[in-house]
Protein backbone atom coordinates (compact mmCIF):
# COMPACT_ATOMS: atom_id res chain seq x y z
CA UNK A 1 0.00 0.00 0.00
CA UNK A 2 2.80 2.34 0.99
CA UNK A 3 4.45 1.66 -2.30
CA UNK A 4 1.34 2.38 -4.29
CA UNK A 5 1.11 5.76 -2.58
CA UNK A 6 4.75 6.40 -3.34
CA UNK A 7 4.17 5.47 -6.92
CA UNK A 8 1.19 7.80 -7.21
CA UNK A 9 3.19 10.60 -5.63
CA UNK A 10 5.94 10.09 -8.21
CA UNK A 11 3.36 9.93 -10.95
CA UNK A 12 1.86 13.27 -9.99
CA UNK A 13 5.28 14.94 -10.23
CA UNK A 14 5.20 14.28 -13.95
CA UNK A 15 2.02 16.24 -14.18
CA UNK A 16 3.34 19.05 -12.05
CA UNK A 17 4.64 20.77 -15.19
CA UNK A 18 1.12 20.90 -16.51
CA UNK A 19 -0.12 22.79 -13.48
CA UNK A 20 2.09 25.75 -14.34
CA UNK A 21 0.39 25.99 -17.69
CA UNK A 22 -2.74 28.01 -18.15
CA UNK A 23 -4.75 28.17 -21.31
CA UNK A 24 -7.51 30.33 -22.69
CA UNK A 25 -9.44 29.33 -25.79
CA UNK A 26 -11.72 32.34 -25.99
CA UNK A 27 -9.45 35.35 -25.88
CA UNK A 28 -11.44 38.49 -26.44
CA UNK A 29 -9.87 41.06 -28.69
CA UNK A 30 -11.25 44.44 -29.54
CA UNK A 31 -9.88 46.67 -32.25
CA UNK A 32 -10.84 50.30 -32.32
CA UNK A 33 -10.01 53.20 -34.56
CA UNK A 34 -11.50 56.62 -34.38
CA UNK A 35 -12.38 57.91 -37.82
CA UNK A 36 -13.83 61.18 -39.09
CA UNK A 37 -17.18 59.81 -40.25
CA UNK A 38 -17.67 56.91 -37.90
CA UNK A 39 -15.57 54.98 -35.45
CA UNK A 40 -14.44 51.57 -36.56
CA UNK A 41 -14.58 48.69 -34.13
CA UNK A 42 -14.19 44.95 -34.41
CA UNK A 43 -14.38 42.09 -31.94
CA UNK A 44 -13.07 38.56 -31.79
CA UNK A 45 -13.73 35.92 -29.16
CA UNK A 46 -11.92 32.92 -30.60
CA UNK A 47 -8.26 33.71 -30.03
CA UNK A 48 -6.12 31.30 -28.02
CA UNK A 49 -3.50 31.97 -25.38
CA UNK A 50 -1.07 29.97 -23.30
CA UNK A 51 0.50 31.24 -20.09
CA UNK A 52 3.27 29.41 -18.28
CA UNK A 53 3.42 30.77 -14.76
CA UNK A 54 6.67 28.94 -14.10
CA UNK A 55 8.65 30.62 -16.85
CA UNK A 56 6.42 33.67 -17.34
CA UNK A 57 5.93 32.81 -21.00
CA UNK A 58 2.80 34.31 -22.47
CA UNK A 59 1.62 33.64 -25.99
CA UNK A 60 -1.39 34.65 -28.02
CA UNK A 61 -2.68 33.62 -31.42
CA UNK A 62 -5.66 35.39 -32.93
CA UNK A 63 -7.22 34.28 -36.23
CA UNK A 64 -7.61 37.53 -38.12
CA UNK A 65 -10.78 36.38 -39.84
CA UNK A 66 -12.43 36.01 -36.44
CA UNK A 67 -12.44 39.78 -35.99
CA UNK A 68 -15.99 40.76 -36.77
CA UNK A 69 -17.01 44.26 -37.71
CA UNK A 70 -20.51 45.60 -37.33
CA UNK A 71 -20.44 46.45 -41.02
CA UNK A 72 -19.78 43.54 -43.33
CA UNK A 73 -18.22 45.74 -45.98
CA UNK A 74 -15.72 47.06 -43.45
CA UNK A 75 -14.84 43.50 -42.56
CA UNK A 76 -14.25 42.68 -46.20
CA UNK A 77 -12.04 45.72 -46.67
CA UNK A 78 -10.12 44.96 -43.52
CA UNK A 79 -9.41 41.40 -44.62
CA UNK A 80 -8.76 42.10 -48.25
CA UNK A 81 -7.10 45.48 -48.36
CA UNK A 82 -5.52 46.13 -44.99
CA UNK A 83 -4.56 42.99 -43.12
CA UNK A 84 -4.54 40.63 -46.14
CA UNK A 85 -5.78 37.71 -44.10
CA UNK A 86 -5.47 35.26 -46.97
CA UNK A 87 -1.69 35.69 -46.78
CA UNK A 88 -1.37 36.43 -43.07
CA UNK A 89 -4.18 34.57 -41.33
CA UNK A 90 -2.97 35.09 -37.76
CA UNK A 91 -1.88 37.82 -35.40
CA UNK A 92 0.45 36.46 -32.73
CA UNK A 93 2.27 37.59 -29.65
CA UNK A 94 5.03 35.57 -28.02
CA UNK A 95 6.58 37.06 -24.96
CA UNK A 96 7.48 36.83 -21.31
CA UNK A 97 6.02 38.50 -18.28
CA UNK A 98 8.83 40.46 -16.62
CA UNK A 99 7.47 40.35 -13.09
CA UNK A 100 7.07 37.24 -11.00
CA UNK A 101 3.49 36.88 -9.91
CA UNK A 102 2.44 34.57 -7.12
CA UNK A 103 -0.70 32.96 -8.48
CA UNK A 104 -1.75 31.67 -5.09
CA UNK A 105 -2.53 35.15 -3.83
CA UNK A 106 -5.67 36.87 -4.98
CA UNK A 107 -5.21 40.36 -6.27
CA UNK A 108 -4.63 42.57 -9.23
CA UNK A 109 -1.07 42.94 -10.47
CA UNK A 110 0.22 45.32 -13.13
CA UNK A 111 2.51 43.36 -15.45
CA UNK A 112 4.90 44.16 -18.26
CA UNK A 113 5.26 41.75 -21.13
CA UNK A 114 8.08 41.88 -23.65
CA UNK A 115 8.03 39.85 -26.81
CA UNK A 116 7.42 39.52 -30.52
CA UNK A 117 4.18 40.92 -31.85
CA UNK A 118 3.37 39.75 -35.35
CA UNK A 119 0.64 41.27 -37.49
CA UNK A 120 0.41 41.35 -41.30
CA UNK A 121 3.53 39.18 -41.45
CA UNK A 122 5.68 41.86 -39.79
CA UNK A 123 7.19 41.19 -36.39
CA UNK A 124 7.87 43.97 -33.92
CA UNK A 125 9.44 43.56 -30.51
CA UNK A 126 7.07 45.22 -28.13
CA UNK A 127 6.85 45.86 -24.43
CA UNK A 128 3.20 45.91 -23.49
CA UNK A 129 1.72 46.67 -20.12
CA UNK A 130 -1.29 44.90 -18.80
CA UNK A 131 -3.02 43.67 -15.76
CA UNK A 132 -3.05 40.20 -14.24
CA UNK A 133 -5.92 39.50 -11.91
CA UNK A 134 -6.25 36.48 -9.67
CA UNK A 135 -9.48 35.78 -7.96
CA UNK A 136 -10.16 32.39 -6.42
CA UNK A 137 -7.42 30.79 -8.48
CA UNK A 138 -8.83 32.13 -11.75
CA UNK A 139 -6.29 34.07 -13.78
CA UNK A 140 -7.51 36.91 -15.98
CA UNK A 141 -5.29 39.12 -18.08
CA UNK A 142 -6.27 42.36 -19.66
CA UNK A 143 -4.30 44.80 -21.70
CA UNK A 144 -4.78 47.85 -23.82
CA UNK A 145 -2.16 49.05 -26.26
CA UNK A 146 -1.75 50.92 -29.50
CA UNK A 147 -0.54 49.47 -32.79
CA UNK A 148 0.80 51.72 -35.50
CA UNK A 149 -0.35 50.59 -38.95
CA UNK A 150 2.95 51.74 -40.44
CA UNK A 151 4.91 49.46 -38.05
CA UNK A 152 3.29 46.48 -39.70
CA UNK A 153 3.37 47.79 -43.26
CA UNK A 154 -0.37 48.31 -43.40
CA UNK A 155 -1.07 51.04 -45.91
CA UNK A 156 -3.92 53.42 -45.37
CA UNK A 157 -5.25 54.40 -48.77
CA UNK A 158 -6.10 58.03 -49.25
CA UNK A 159 -9.38 57.73 -51.09
CA UNK A 160 -11.36 55.50 -48.77
CA UNK A 161 -14.27 56.92 -46.87
CA UNK A 162 -13.84 54.58 -43.94
CA UNK A 163 -10.65 56.39 -43.18
CA UNK A 164 -8.85 54.70 -40.33
CA UNK A 165 -6.44 56.26 -37.88
CA UNK A 166 -2.69 55.73 -38.06
CA UNK A 167 -2.78 54.00 -34.70
CA UNK A 168 -5.27 51.33 -33.78
CA UNK A 169 -6.20 50.64 -30.18
CA UNK A 170 -6.20 46.98 -29.24
CA UNK A 171 -7.84 45.64 -26.11
CA UNK A 172 -7.27 42.07 -25.01
CA UNK A 173 -8.99 40.13 -22.30
CA UNK A 174 -8.35 36.48 -21.47
CA UNK A 175 -9.53 34.27 -18.64
CA UNK A 176 -7.33 31.23 -18.12
CA UNK A 177 -7.93 27.76 -16.87
CA UNK A 178 -5.16 25.55 -15.53
CA UNK A 179 -4.19 22.86 -17.98
CA UNK A 180 -5.33 19.60 -16.41
CA UNK A 181 -3.05 17.10 -18.06
CA UNK A 182 0.30 17.33 -19.69
CA UNK A 183 -0.84 16.15 -23.09
CA UNK A 184 -0.78 19.17 -25.34
CA UNK A 185 -2.90 17.54 -28.04
CA UNK A 186 -6.13 18.13 -26.15
Amino acid sequence: MKHILLFLLAWTTIHQAGQDTYVCKNVKVNMYSSAPIEDIEANSTTGVSVYNSGTGELEFSIPVRSLHFPKSLMEEHFNENYIESDKFPKATFKGKIQEHVDLTKDGSYPVTVTGDFQVHGVTQTRTITGNLKISGGVVTMTSEFMVKCADHHIDIPQIVFHHIAESIRIRVSATYTALKNNNPSK
Binding site: H3, I4, L6, F7, A10, W11, T13, I14, Q16, A17, T21, V23, K25, K28, N30, Y32, E41, N43, V48, S49, V50, N52, T55, E57, E59, F60, S61, P63, R65, P70, K71, S72, L73, M74, E76, H77, N79, E80, N81, E84, D86, P89, K90, K94, T140, T142, D155, P157, I159, V160, F161, H162, R171, S173, A174, T175, L179, N182, P184, S185
Partner: protein
Protein backbone atom coordinates in the same frame (compact mmCIF):
# COMPACT_ATOMS: atom_id res chain seq x y z
CA UNK B 1 6.28 -7.27 -5.79
CA UNK B 2 7.91 -4.54 -3.75
CA UNK B 3 10.76 -4.33 -6.17
CA UNK B 4 8.47 -3.93 -9.11
CA UNK B 5 6.70 -1.02 -7.39
CA UNK B 6 9.97 0.64 -6.55
CA UNK B 7 11.19 0.14 -10.08
CA UNK B 8 8.01 1.73 -11.45
CA UNK B 9 8.29 4.58 -8.98
CA UNK B 10 11.81 5.33 -10.05
CA UNK B 11 10.87 5.01 -13.67
CA UNK B 12 7.98 7.41 -13.22
CA UNK B 13 10.20 9.91 -11.44
CA UNK B 14 12.87 9.54 -14.09
CA UNK B 15 10.52 10.16 -16.98
CA UNK B 16 9.08 13.13 -15.12
CA UNK B 17 12.50 14.63 -14.62
CA UNK B 18 13.48 13.86 -18.17
CA UNK B 19 10.38 15.54 -19.51
CA UNK B 20 11.17 18.65 -17.53
CA UNK B 21 14.74 18.58 -18.69
CA UNK B 22 13.82 18.52 -22.35
CA UNK B 23 11.34 21.29 -21.64
CA UNK B 24 13.95 23.63 -20.28
CA UNK B 25 16.46 22.77 -22.97
CA UNK B 26 13.89 23.70 -25.57
CA UNK B 27 13.12 26.94 -23.80
CA UNK B 28 16.79 27.82 -23.72
CA UNK B 29 16.82 27.22 -27.48
CA UNK B 30 14.31 30.01 -27.69
CA UNK B 31 11.91 29.55 -30.55
CA UNK B 32 10.01 26.32 -30.04
CA UNK B 33 9.02 25.93 -26.42
CA UNK B 34 6.30 23.70 -25.06
CA UNK B 35 4.22 26.84 -24.77
CA UNK B 36 4.67 27.31 -28.50
CA UNK B 37 3.65 23.81 -29.45
CA UNK B 38 0.71 23.96 -27.07
CA UNK B 39 -0.42 27.22 -28.65
CA UNK B 40 -0.03 25.75 -32.12
CA UNK B 41 -2.04 22.70 -31.20
CA UNK B 42 -4.81 24.92 -29.81
CA UNK B 43 -5.05 27.33 -32.69
CA UNK B 44 -6.63 25.41 -35.49
CA UNK B 45 -5.70 26.38 -39.01
CA UNK B 46 -9.17 27.04 -40.25
CA UNK B 47 -8.80 26.84 -43.98
CA UNK B 48 -12.43 25.88 -44.48
CA UNK B 49 -13.44 29.48 -44.81
CA UNK B 50 -15.20 31.35 -47.56
CA UNK B 51 -13.06 33.14 -50.07
CA UNK B 52 -14.03 36.76 -49.85
CA UNK B 53 -14.14 39.51 -52.40
CA UNK B 54 -14.22 37.57 -55.68
CA UNK B 55 -16.06 40.60 -56.93
CA UNK B 56 -16.35 43.91 -55.14
CA UNK B 57 -19.69 44.85 -56.62
CA UNK B 58 -22.93 42.97 -57.07
CA UNK B 59 -22.92 44.05 -60.71
CA UNK B 60 -20.18 44.52 -63.24
CA UNK B 61 -20.99 46.32 -66.51
CA UNK B 62 -23.60 43.99 -68.00
CA UNK B 63 -23.71 41.03 -65.64
CA UNK B 64 -24.56 40.57 -62.01
CA UNK B 65 -21.82 38.84 -59.98
CA UNK B 66 -21.88 36.00 -57.48
CA UNK B 67 -21.42 38.61 -54.75
CA UNK B 68 -24.49 39.24 -52.66
CA UNK B 69 -25.45 42.12 -50.43
CA UNK B 70 -24.96 41.03 -46.82
CA UNK B 71 -27.73 40.77 -44.27
CA UNK B 72 -29.42 44.06 -43.37
CA UNK B 73 -27.44 45.92 -45.99
CA UNK B 74 -29.03 48.02 -48.67
CA UNK B 75 -27.22 48.69 -51.90
CA UNK B 76 -28.37 51.73 -53.82
CA UNK B 77 -27.48 51.72 -57.49
CA UNK B 78 -27.46 54.42 -60.14
CA UNK B 79 -26.33 53.23 -63.55
CA UNK B 80 -26.04 55.35 -66.69
CA UNK B 81 -25.40 54.66 -70.35
CA UNK B 82 -24.71 57.70 -72.50
CA UNK B 83 -25.12 58.20 -76.24
CA UNK B 84 -22.92 56.85 -79.01
CA UNK B 85 -19.35 58.13 -78.96
CA UNK B 86 -19.04 57.83 -82.76
CA UNK B 87 -21.80 57.89 -85.43
CA UNK B 88 -23.69 61.02 -86.54
CA UNK B 89 -25.32 61.35 -83.08
CA UNK B 90 -21.96 61.27 -81.30
CA UNK B 91 -18.75 63.17 -81.83
CA UNK B 92 -17.69 66.48 -80.33
CA UNK B 93 -21.10 68.06 -80.93
CA UNK B 94 -22.70 65.92 -78.22
CA UNK B 95 -19.46 65.74 -76.23
CA UNK B 96 -19.02 62.15 -77.43
CA UNK B 97 -22.46 61.10 -76.39
CA UNK B 98 -22.52 62.69 -72.96
CA UNK B 99 -25.40 64.98 -73.97
CA UNK B 100 -27.57 62.01 -74.71
CA UNK B 101 -28.69 59.50 -72.13
CA UNK B 102 -29.64 56.12 -73.56
CA UNK B 103 -30.51 54.32 -70.37
CA UNK B 104 -30.67 55.00 -66.66
CA UNK B 105 -31.18 52.38 -63.99
CA UNK B 106 -32.09 53.31 -60.46
CA UNK B 107 -32.41 50.40 -58.12
CA UNK B 108 -32.00 48.84 -54.72
CA UNK B 109 -30.68 45.52 -53.51
CA UNK B 110 -31.39 44.39 -49.99
CA UNK B 111 -29.88 41.52 -48.05
CA UNK B 112 -32.61 39.45 -46.38
CA UNK B 113 -29.76 37.21 -45.28
CA UNK B 114 -26.10 36.99 -46.24
CA UNK B 115 -27.09 34.70 -49.09
CA UNK B 116 -30.53 35.89 -50.12
CA UNK B 117 -31.12 39.26 -51.75
CA UNK B 118 -34.18 40.93 -53.12
CA UNK B 119 -33.73 43.62 -55.73
CA UNK B 120 -35.91 46.23 -57.32
CA UNK B 121 -35.14 48.72 -60.06
CA UNK B 122 -36.37 50.71 -62.98
CA UNK B 123 -34.85 51.24 -66.42
CA UNK B 124 -35.39 54.03 -68.92
CA UNK B 125 -35.44 51.66 -71.89
CA UNK B 126 -38.94 50.22 -72.15
CA UNK B 127 -39.67 51.82 -68.75
CA UNK B 128 -38.84 48.31 -67.59
CA UNK B 129 -39.39 47.67 -63.92
CA UNK B 130 -37.50 44.71 -62.51
CA UNK B 131 -37.95 42.69 -59.37
CA UNK B 132 -35.54 39.92 -58.60
CA UNK B 133 -34.27 37.36 -56.14
CA UNK B 134 -30.62 36.45 -55.86
CA UNK B 135 -29.46 33.46 -53.87
CA UNK B 136 -25.89 32.39 -53.18
CA UNK B 137 -26.07 28.59 -53.04
CA UNK B 138 -22.36 27.82 -52.90
CA UNK B 139 -19.34 29.76 -51.68
CA UNK B 140 -15.80 29.24 -52.82
CA UNK B 141 -13.70 27.88 -49.94
CA UNK B 142 -10.10 28.63 -49.12
CA UNK B 143 -9.19 24.94 -48.97
CA UNK B 144 -10.84 24.40 -52.38
CA UNK B 145 -13.38 22.01 -50.88
CA UNK B 146 -15.60 24.14 -53.06
CA UNK B 147 -13.48 25.61 -55.85
CA UNK B 148 -16.27 27.81 -57.19
CA UNK B 149 -19.10 30.01 -56.02
CA UNK B 150 -22.58 29.67 -57.47
CA UNK B 151 -25.34 32.24 -57.21
CA UNK B 152 -28.79 31.96 -58.76
CA UNK B 153 -30.67 34.97 -60.00
CA UNK B 154 -34.27 35.26 -61.10
CA UNK B 155 -35.66 38.49 -62.51
CA UNK B 156 -39.16 39.48 -63.41
CA UNK B 157 -39.56 42.50 -65.66
CA UNK B 158 -42.66 44.43 -66.59
CA UNK B 159 -43.23 47.34 -68.99
CA UNK B 160 -46.10 49.38 -67.53
CA UNK B 161 -46.30 51.78 -70.48
CA UNK B 162 -46.71 51.33 -74.22
CA UNK B 163 -49.44 49.43 -76.06
CA UNK B 164 -49.50 45.70 -75.47
CA UNK B 165 -52.19 43.18 -76.34
CA UNK B 166 -52.57 42.08 -72.72
CA UNK B 167 -50.98 42.55 -69.32
CA UNK B 168 -48.94 39.37 -69.61
CA UNK B 169 -47.51 40.61 -72.91
CA UNK B 170 -45.68 43.28 -70.89
CA UNK B 171 -43.68 40.69 -68.94
CA UNK B 172 -40.17 39.35 -69.31
CA UNK B 173 -38.35 36.72 -67.26
CA UNK B 174 -34.72 35.95 -66.75
CA UNK B 175 -33.08 33.06 -64.96
CA UNK B 176 -29.37 32.87 -64.46
CA UNK B 177 -26.79 30.69 -62.72
CA UNK B 178 -23.64 32.68 -61.97
CA UNK B 179 -20.49 30.63 -61.45
CA UNK B 180 -17.35 32.39 -60.30
CA UNK B 181 -13.87 31.62 -59.10
CA UNK B 182 -11.28 33.87 -57.57
CA UNK B 183 -8.10 32.40 -59.05
CA UNK B 184 -5.61 34.69 -57.35
CA UNK B 185 -6.05 37.64 -55.05
CA UNK B 186 -6.11 39.74 -58.23
CA UNK B 187 -7.95 37.65 -60.79
CA UNK B 188 -11.59 36.58 -60.68
CA UNK B 189 -13.58 35.05 -63.51
CA UNK B 190 -17.20 34.16 -63.90
CA UNK B 191 -19.47 32.50 -66.43
CA UNK B 192 -23.23 32.52 -66.37
CA UNK B 193 -25.68 30.47 -68.37
CA UNK B 194 -28.84 32.53 -68.79
CA UNK B 195 -32.35 31.95 -70.03
CA UNK B 196 -34.48 34.89 -71.11
CA UNK B 197 -38.15 34.80 -71.97
CA UNK B 198 -39.97 37.85 -73.28
CA UNK B 199 -43.73 37.41 -73.56
CA UNK B 200 -43.54 39.88 -76.41
CA UNK B 201 -40.42 39.42 -78.49
CA UNK B 202 -37.99 42.32 -78.16
CA UNK B 203 -37.76 43.86 -80.68
CA UNK B 204 -41.27 42.80 -81.71
CA UNK B 205 -40.42 41.65 -85.21
CA UNK B 206 -41.86 38.59 -86.94
CA UNK B 207 -39.45 35.69 -86.59
CA UNK B 208 -37.75 36.95 -83.42
CA UNK B 209 -37.42 34.47 -80.54
CA UNK B 210 -39.33 35.11 -77.36
CA UNK B 211 -37.26 32.70 -75.36
CA UNK B 212 -33.57 32.03 -75.81
CA UNK B 213 -30.48 30.92 -73.96
CA UNK B 214 -27.47 33.15 -73.47
CA UNK B 215 -24.05 32.92 -71.94
CA UNK B 216 -22.07 35.65 -70.27
CA UNK B 217 -18.48 35.77 -69.20
CA UNK B 218 -16.75 38.35 -67.07
CA UNK B 219 -13.30 39.03 -65.71
CA UNK B 220 -12.05 41.25 -62.95
CA UNK B 221 -8.39 42.00 -62.53
CA UNK B 222 -7.23 43.95 -59.50
CA UNK B 223 -4.58 46.46 -60.45
CA UNK B 224 -4.28 48.10 -57.05
CA UNK B 225 -6.05 47.41 -53.77
CA UNK B 226 -8.88 49.70 -54.77
CA UNK B 227 -8.89 49.65 -58.54
CA UNK B 228 -9.75 46.84 -60.92
CA UNK B 229 -10.16 46.32 -64.62
CA UNK B 230 -13.37 44.67 -65.70
CA UNK B 231 -14.33 42.97 -68.96
CA UNK B 232 -17.86 41.77 -69.49
CA UNK B 233 -19.27 39.88 -72.48
CA UNK B 234 -22.65 38.37 -73.34
CA UNK B 235 -23.82 36.19 -76.16
CA UNK B 236 -27.46 35.36 -76.85
CA UNK B 237 -28.04 32.01 -78.59
CA UNK B 238 -30.83 33.24 -80.77
CA UNK B 239 -31.21 32.36 -84.43
CA UNK B 240 -32.75 35.76 -85.10
CA UNK B 241 -30.27 37.93 -83.19
CA UNK B 242 -27.45 37.70 -85.71
CA UNK B 243 -25.04 40.16 -87.21
CA UNK B 244 -26.91 39.87 -90.52
CA UNK B 245 -30.04 41.15 -88.76
CA UNK B 246 -28.10 44.02 -87.21
CA UNK B 247 -27.51 42.53 -83.75
CA UNK B 248 -24.23 42.50 -81.87
CA UNK B 249 -23.03 40.78 -78.73
CA UNK B 250 -22.83 43.17 -75.77
CA UNK B 251 -19.24 43.76 -74.71
CA UNK B 252 -18.01 46.16 -72.06
CA UNK B 253 -14.69 47.28 -70.65
CA UNK B 254 -14.46 49.14 -67.40
CA UNK B 255 -12.47 50.45 -64.50
CA UNK B 256 -13.89 49.67 -61.08
CA UNK B 257 -12.89 51.82 -58.14
CA UNK B 258 -14.04 50.97 -54.66
CA UNK B 259 -13.69 53.40 -51.86
CA UNK B 260 -15.28 51.73 -48.87
CA UNK B 261 -19.04 51.82 -49.10
CA UNK B 262 -19.00 53.07 -52.66
CA UNK B 263 -18.10 51.26 -55.83
CA UNK B 264 -17.74 53.30 -59.00
CA UNK B 265 -17.47 51.70 -62.39
CA UNK B 266 -16.58 53.75 -65.43
CA UNK B 267 -17.07 51.78 -68.59
CA UNK B 268 -17.31 51.64 -72.36
CA UNK B 269 -19.85 49.32 -73.90
CA UNK B 270 -21.80 48.86 -77.09
CA UNK B 271 -24.95 47.84 -75.24
CA UNK B 272 -27.35 50.72 -74.80
CA UNK B 273 -29.46 48.90 -72.24
CA UNK B 274 -28.46 48.28 -68.66
CA UNK B 275 -30.92 45.53 -67.79
CA UNK B 276 -29.82 42.09 -68.94
CA UNK B 277 -33.33 41.43 -70.20
CA UNK B 278 -33.00 44.40 -72.54
CA UNK B 279 -29.35 44.08 -73.49
CA UNK B 280 -29.58 40.38 -74.30
CA UNK B 281 -32.85 40.77 -76.17
CA UNK B 282 -31.93 43.79 -78.16
CA UNK B 283 -28.41 45.05 -78.67
CA UNK B 284 -28.21 46.54 -82.12
CA UNK B 285 -25.12 48.63 -81.58
CA UNK B 286 -21.74 47.75 -82.95
CA UNK B 287 -18.25 48.93 -82.04
CA UNK B 288 -17.36 48.91 -85.76
CA UNK B 289 -20.06 51.48 -86.46
CA UNK B 290 -18.95 53.77 -83.64
CA UNK B 291 -21.95 52.69 -81.56
CA UNK B 292 -20.26 52.43 -78.20
CA UNK B 293 -20.70 54.62 -75.22
CA UNK B 294 -19.47 55.79 -71.89
CA UNK B 295 -21.34 54.43 -68.92
CA UNK B 296 -20.99 54.46 -65.18
CA UNK B 297 -22.28 52.67 -62.13
CA UNK B 298 -22.44 54.17 -58.69
CA UNK B 299 -23.17 51.78 -55.90
CA UNK B 300 -23.59 52.88 -52.32
CA UNK B 301 -23.92 50.38 -49.50
CA UNK B 302 -25.94 51.22 -46.40
CA UNK B 303 -25.54 48.97 -43.40
CA UNK B 304 -28.29 48.65 -40.82
CA UNK B 305 -26.52 46.25 -38.51
CA UNK B 306 -26.09 47.12 -34.87
CA UNK B 307 -22.89 47.90 -33.13
CA UNK B 308 -21.53 45.51 -30.52
CA UNK B 309 -20.00 46.98 -27.39
CA UNK B 310 -16.79 45.78 -25.81
CA UNK B 311 -16.86 44.14 -22.39
CA UNK B 312 -13.84 42.88 -20.47
CA UNK B 313 -13.88 39.30 -19.26
CA UNK B 314 -14.98 39.40 -15.68
Amino acid sequence: MKRIFIAFTLLALATGLKAQQTDTSKKAGGKTSSTDSLLNSMSSDDKHQDVIGAFKATRLILSPTTTTVKKNNLNFLVIHRFGDIGTPTGGARTLFGLDAVNDVYIGFEYGLSDNLNVDFGRNTIGQLIEVGLKYAVLHQKMDDSSPIAITFLGEYGVRPYGSFSSYSARNSYLGQAIISRKFTSALSLQVSPIYVYDNTAIPDIAGNDKGFFALSGALRYKVTKHMSLVVDYEHPFSSFRTGANGFSDPLGFGIEVETGGHVFTLNISNARAISEINSLSNTQADYGRGQFRIGFTISRMFDFNHHEKWKDNK
